[in-house]
Structure formats: C-alpha cells, structure tokens
C-alpha cells in the first residue's frame, strides 16, 4: 500500500489519499494521471491492468486501486 501511496502522492502531493474516495467523482485525477498510475503500477507491481478494469470504481480511492492490484496479482 505504501508503494502505491507514493505513486499517488507524486501526482497530487496535496491530496489525502488515506481518506479520499472521490478521486474520479471530484475530478482530482485526469486522463494523464490515469495513464501514469497504470504504467507505474505495471512497473512497480508487475501487474497489468486490463482495459475492462479501467473504470471509475477502481480509481476512486487508493483503497479500491490497491484491492484491484491484489486481485489481479492473485489471478
């Protein structure tokens, strides 16, 4: 989780990712951020996020994103 938080902090250092669960709904993340997050996750976690998982629900909070990584890692 810490590794993921670090990636996210780099993008928007002022956001409290531990509590924020409206990253998409409140337009905190944009398309550039999504591209960056996906490529960093692939580099750091060796997990490829398939197109059908690139949906708002999976990116609204750090927790949701972390659960996605864990789920994909197990498969």
């Amino acid at each position: 989780m810490d590794e993921l938080l670090e990636i996210l902090q780099d993008l928007h250092p002022e956001v409290d990712y531990e509590t924020c669960d409206t990253l998409i709904d409140d337009k905190i993340l944009d398309s550039f951020d999504i591209v960056t997050i996906i490529s960093e996750i692939s580099e750091n976690f060796d997990v490829v996020i398939p197109a059908e998982e690139i949906v708002p629900e999976n990116f609204n909070s750090a927790q949701a994103l972390y659960e996605l990584i864990e789920r994909l890692g197990d498969e």
Binding site: I24, D30, E52, I54, V55
Partner: protein, 510 residues
Amino acid sequence: MQQTNVLEYLEKTVLRLPDKVAFANESEGLTFGEVFHDSRAIGTYLYKNGYYHEPVVVFMKKHPKTIAAFFGCVYGGDYYVPIDEEMPKFRIELIFDNLQPKVMICDESTAELAKEFAAKGDVKIVLYDEVTKTEIDEAVIADIRDKQLDTDPIYIVFTSGSTGIPKGVVACHRSVIDYIENLSEVLEFNEDTRFANQAPLYFDACLKELYPTLKFGATTYIVPKSLFMFPMKLVEFLNEHKINTVCWVVSALTMISSFKVFDKMIPEYLHTIAFGSEVFPIKQFHLWKNALPNAKFTNLYGPTETTGMCCYYKVNRDFALDEVMPIGRPFHNTEILLLNEQNQLAKDGEVGEICVRGTSLTLGYYHAFEKTNEVFVQNPLNDRYPELIYRTGDLGKRNERGELVFVSRKDYQIKHMGHRIELGEIEVNVNMLENISTSCCIYDKEKEKIILFYVGEMEVKDLVVLLKGKLPRYMIPNKVEKLEKMPLTANGKLDRVYLKKYYEEKTKEN
C-alpha cells in the same frame, strides 16, 4: 459571390437541413434550425445594446449552446473569446486585463463565478437562455453583414506566453474559410460525417469540427471529458453515436491503443482519423492501423497563429519503430519556408525554422503589437513589397522524399498532452510566489512529464496547491523537487543540461 463570412456555411445548410442535429452532447442536441435562431437572436441583442466590433467573452460549460453562442457573437459583428471554468482564476484575470471586455455570455453554471471577474471591469453579464429570447431583427442582421469585411476578426484564443502572460491570437473570416475549405478537401468531410469532438472549445483545435459541421450539414458530438480516462467507455461512446471521424490529440488515441482496448472492441464506424500537434509513437500507430486497416490516417501540423493547421501528411506507407512520421506538405494556398540562421532557404536536408506564408496567417496577438511584430515579420526573401510571414519557432527539414519533418523547438516551448506550453511561463509563475527564490523546468519527453526544480522556503505540497490556482491543469508540473541550490552555467544562466542529467540519473536509480 465569393464567400466572405463563415456564417454563410450555416445559412446555406439551414435551408436544406433545418431539423438535423448539428451539435450534441451525450444527452442534448441543437439542430441547424436552432443554432440559426439562437445565434441570430444573440447577434441582434449584442448589436442593439451597443456591442459591435467588441470582444465578447463566452464563459459557459462545454455544451452545444456554447458553440451557438460563438456564432451569435459573429452575427453581432463581434468576436468571441471562449473562457472555461477549467482555467484558473488568476489566468482568467490576466486575459480580462488584456481584453477589457464589456460583455460576457454565461450559463447558469458559470454566472456566479463570472460576477467575480465582471465586478472589476464593469462587464455586463448576460445569460444564454435569456438573450436567445431576443426577437431577431432581420434588418439589423443584414446591416451588420453588409458592413462586414472578411478581414474582420471572429475569435480570439489564448496561448501560453513565456513572460507569464497568455497571448490572444486573433483570427478573421478569411483565414478560417481558407482553413476549412482546404482541411475539408484533405480529410474528405461530407454530410454523413459524424465527428466526436475532443478538443476544448477554448482552443482553435475545435475549428476542425465546428465549421465543417456548418459547411456540410454534418454532426458533431461533444465527448464528455471524463471518458478520456476510461478507454472502453470511450469506444462505446464512439460506437453508440456511430462516429466515423475524429480529429484528436495523439494522447487521446494512444489511451485507447496502449490499454489494449482493440482486443475487446473496435470503433466500428470510424474511417477518418486525423491527429496532430504531437509525435504519434509508431508502435501505437501500428495498433491503430491493424485494428482499422481501411481507415484513412492523417497527421496534421500547425500553430494557432496560422489558423488551426497548415500542413498535412496522409499516411501512405509503413514506418519503422524508430522513424518519425512527417508533417508532410502545406495545405493548398499556404507555403512553408524553411529559413536557416542566415534567413536563407535551407538546402535539402538542412534544418531551418518553419515559416508560414499565405492567407492562413491570423491577424496577430490582441493588444500586443510588440509581441506580434517579433514573429509576424516581413518575408526576408522579399525586398520588393510588404509581405508577412509567421515564424513558428519550430525547426524542420525536408527528408529525401521531399516531405517536411518536424525536428525540434528553437526555445523552451514544449508539447505536452497536446497542449502548447512555454516552460518559461511555469517558471515565471513559480518565481512570483513569496518565499521562492528561483526555479527551473525541464521536460522528460519520453515519459511526458514536466519536472520542476525550485529553491525556497516552501514545501512541495504547498507549492503545488498555489500553482493550481495560477496555471491551467495541463501546465502543473508532474514532478516537483526542492533543491538546496540551483545549478548555474559559467555565465550564470540556469543549467538545464545539468538538471536533465541529474533527473535522468535519479530516475534510473529507482
């Protein structure tokens, strides 16, 4: 008679197709008849209230009505200046300082915020839904038209300026008509064209959809911005609305291909794909070509100062992964001069500055004669009569096939996510902050990241928050690092080369 007004496109089409949808978003649309009505009502209102030959700020959310408001300004004999809620307040204030506008068209969602800007300069705020109730005065509309010249301005769009102040590029009927005619011929638009608009309405990039839609009686769908984060939903949108033509920034296209959406679904109606302003990575291009082998792909190039785009390359061969796609050749009625440092034509293969000659030149920068004269200059190859060319600051050359190829920039301007950005503008805004002593920006082309280094008594987090209030989102650095001391070259300039190396080594370690 020869066309001298962009509105003639609309006036011809509305006779044929009054009930066809011209501009739509995911839930609402305006027909050509409605656009025709609303824009003439706005034009009547503006003129009758004394707003004639004036900049009219259009501050509305991205919506079909915003587009009709643009045409309304032109009907009134005025020129539209699109402002968007995405722009930070500070930037909007700078733009207002430059424009000194007297009137602003808003919608319900922007009216409150607009009051803040209006208060300072005594700007009248009118609501779209109110002013379109104005009774159309045909005599007034005809009178405005009779007095109008094709060299009169129709819009101003603002682009990044290295001194920290955005520059307003003013375009007239004649250059827009020239552009639309030639672009339409190259991309073969027609009445059946269904555009998906990606570009913000506050840039000239949206001309590609707006005016051909009027000219041919085509339809433009505005794609909700959020879909550009979620590629499968984006392709679903294209299919749902049977989109066959897109003119997008490269990053919007590669968003779809790089996440392997094509393994799951393809945009089945798409046959015309134009892209530009950025290099299309060949690997991504191959994915598109394989998914849509029968589609036509066209690379476009051009600065805002020469009205939209001025060069095109129809992709007609394969490219190796390390090759760069050419920008091809100029549109009909435009010439590109490659000028070397001696202001002479570059020889075959020699690099020169890309300079543009022709009707496509815009009028220059608003309220900025000095800035205008720096780049809209007398053609150095012509000592016989006055003739302006526009110096783009881009370096290019001709390849062995005679095609134009973009090489690099002369200065610190970059292209990032399809946006043209002066790194200097970011630095000026950082340096203006209290407790910051100096700053320097570099660009990591490969990872497409803006990196900011600064020296001062401030945490990274606080700096980013302050910057977000000053600069548009696409100009916010993707990585910020505080330094103890700024590296300088022997003659005391910021040492960008050192910083680049420092950054590269640092990212390698991780």
